[in-house]
């Protein structure tokens, strides 16, 4: 696969998912979101929403996020759906296109959920071929998102992060790192979230997703459900802050799909992501900058949040990323997050 794909032009700032309940307000107010992301499948017809998106395209960078291509299908992807995705991309000329490391279709039937793969060399070859086919059709690089998983498979010979890294090597695709998904899967499957992120090739990470999740307790089992139905929780902010401390700023999306809040709430979450990125960028300024001459030496001290308890989870995440140590624990049926 050729790596001659256009360079991403979406800004390394926070964007929001465009949901129909907010469209009217966004069109009339044009709020200061860095960019907008839409689900490709909602724009494959000629609805008024598609006409509106075409207009918003003049005001915002747009990211097209596919949810139905079933890239992980072992019997290939649906050519008709790929053509529809290509038409959406031609129409809206998005700055970024992404899909999932998952499958949704089996025997021509669509389950409307993102299902996990058995990660092995067989699957890697097939998914690599699927991703290459998509990139060739769209004539652009796409980003592939890690999954929220509730089960894994004992016969997998590699983990999801290793699979994604190999996929990026094989196809030249980028990675959409969903930090909430990493956290959810890590808790559900019992692996270390930070170790997972550490296995991903930094240069391939082209976007980050943030969202809330639900905690479902059934019997003795606690399952985190990736429902995109609440604010980004402190544990995810902390993992995000630590991630961008390591890899630098990335376009970051606030996803919110169920129990939609007022637009201001969504924009507020995006604001926190921007603040975290700005704060972390300051902390990350390279030593060579100071060594070059007149610039003062950069403080490595944590942000001063001396007003007492952290006001917001994102601020706590700042503190954790810049000076604290992030620990999460899951004991006695209660999920807790401790900044030590």
């Amino acid at each position: 696969m050729s790596r001659k794909f256009p360079v991403l032009s979406i800004p390394a700032s926070a964007g929001i998912g465009l949901r129909s309940a907010h469209v009217g307000q966004i069109v009339s107010e044009l709020p200061a979101a860095g960019w907008l992301e839409v689900h490709a499948e909602n724009y494959m017809g000629h609805s008024q929403h598609a006409e509106t998106l075409a207009r918003l395209r003049n005001h915002y960078p747009i990211s097209i996020h596919g949810v139905g291509l079933s890239l992980g299908s072992m019997n290939g992807i649906d050519d008709a759906h790929l053509r529809r995705l290509a038409i959406v991309c031609e129409r809206f000329e998005p700055d970024l296109v992404s899909e999932h490391l998952a499958w949704s279709s089996s025997n021509g039937k669509y389950l409307n959920d993102l299902l996990p793969l058995r990660y092995d060399e067989n699957a890697l070859a097939i998914v690599s071929a699927n991703v290459s086919k998509v990139q060739d059709k769209l004539r652009r690089r796409i980003l592939i998102e890690n999954l929220s998983a509730y089960v894994a498979f004992a016969d997998s010979t590699m983990d999801e992060a290793e699979f994604l890294a190999a996929l990026a090597r094989n196809t030249g695709c980028g990675i959409l790192l969903d930090v909430n998904n990493v956290y959810v899967s890590a808790e559900n499957l019992g692996f270390d979230a930070w170790e997972f992120i550490g296995k991903l090739p930094v240069d391939a990470i082209g976007e980050i997703h943030l969202a809330g999740h639900a905690v479902n307790k059934t019997g003795g089992d606690v399952v985190l459900i990736d429902d995109h139905g609440s604010r980004v929780p402190a544990c995810v902010w902390a993992l995000y802050a630590r991630t961008i401390s390591r890899i630098g700023r990335r376009p970051t999306l606030i996803e919110w799909d169920s129990a939609l809040p007022a637009l201001d709430v969504l924009l507020g979450e995006a604001m926190w992501a921007d603040m975290l990125m700005a704060s972390t960028a300051f902390q990350r300024r390279p030593p060579a900058f100071a060594a070059a001459g007149s610039q003062p030496e950069i403080s490595r001290a944590p942000l001063d949040l001396s007003t007492g308890a952290p006001l917001m989870p994102a601020l706590a995440a700042c503190q954790a990323a810049n000076g604290g140590k992030f620990v999460h624990s899951m004991a006695k049926g209660r999920i807790g997050h401790v900044h030590a």
Partner: protein, 260 residues
Amino acid sequence: MFTPEIHQREFANAILAHPHYGAAGDLRLSARPGANATARLGVYRNNTYASLTAALLATFPVTAKLVDERFLRYAAAAFIDSGLPDEPRLSRFGSRFPKFLAGLGSLKSMPFVAETARLEWRIAESLEEPALISQPVTVLSWLDEPDGAAIALQPSLRLFASRWPVLKIWSAHQDGVESDFVAERLLRPERAAIWRTGGAIRVVALDAGDSRFLRMLSLGRPLGRAVACAHAIDPMFDLAGALARIFGCGLVTGVSRKAN
């Protein structure tokens, strides 16, 4: 060990049949130590059913009001059991739902429920079609042989007919509408034209003549043929009035000299 294709097929089967799938052990599921991985198939099953049910509720809101949302959720689950979507566009999911409702024994005494669902599906189809720029009635003036002309209509136009007063039912259940309509008092056929203007949907009652006229035009028949068909069903069909109405509503998107 299952081949990759069979592994996915069986995983899908296990989700859909959960908790009655008998061979989950062959999938070799794993999870956090101490967790019951097989029980977690229920999360995937719930995701599938909940999201598809939400899609049906969004497409059939008036139908849900007629039978109560709880009943519609029950019917939706049975409908999903009968067949998953063929493709990922959820706006296309539900075309067979009206027929499915018509076949439910518990709705036999309320045939207008499935008919209302049929109207709502037509509306859903219309909403996904483009709204083209309409033409003024003056485009007719340059036609030298109007009988042979073709009149192109908005692609979002859907024509609907029912033996039940579905339009009145549908209108009575729109937000902000106060109505004392009782379905049993108005057992008479209704015909309607449905099309999209901007973000709004227009649902307009038609008489028999207008309905036949529009149907013929939408099939690409020549104007003269459409008029003859309308007259056949309604001797009082008024061509000038019908043309004024369809141009006035913005339904005409083009006129060509000869129909195909």
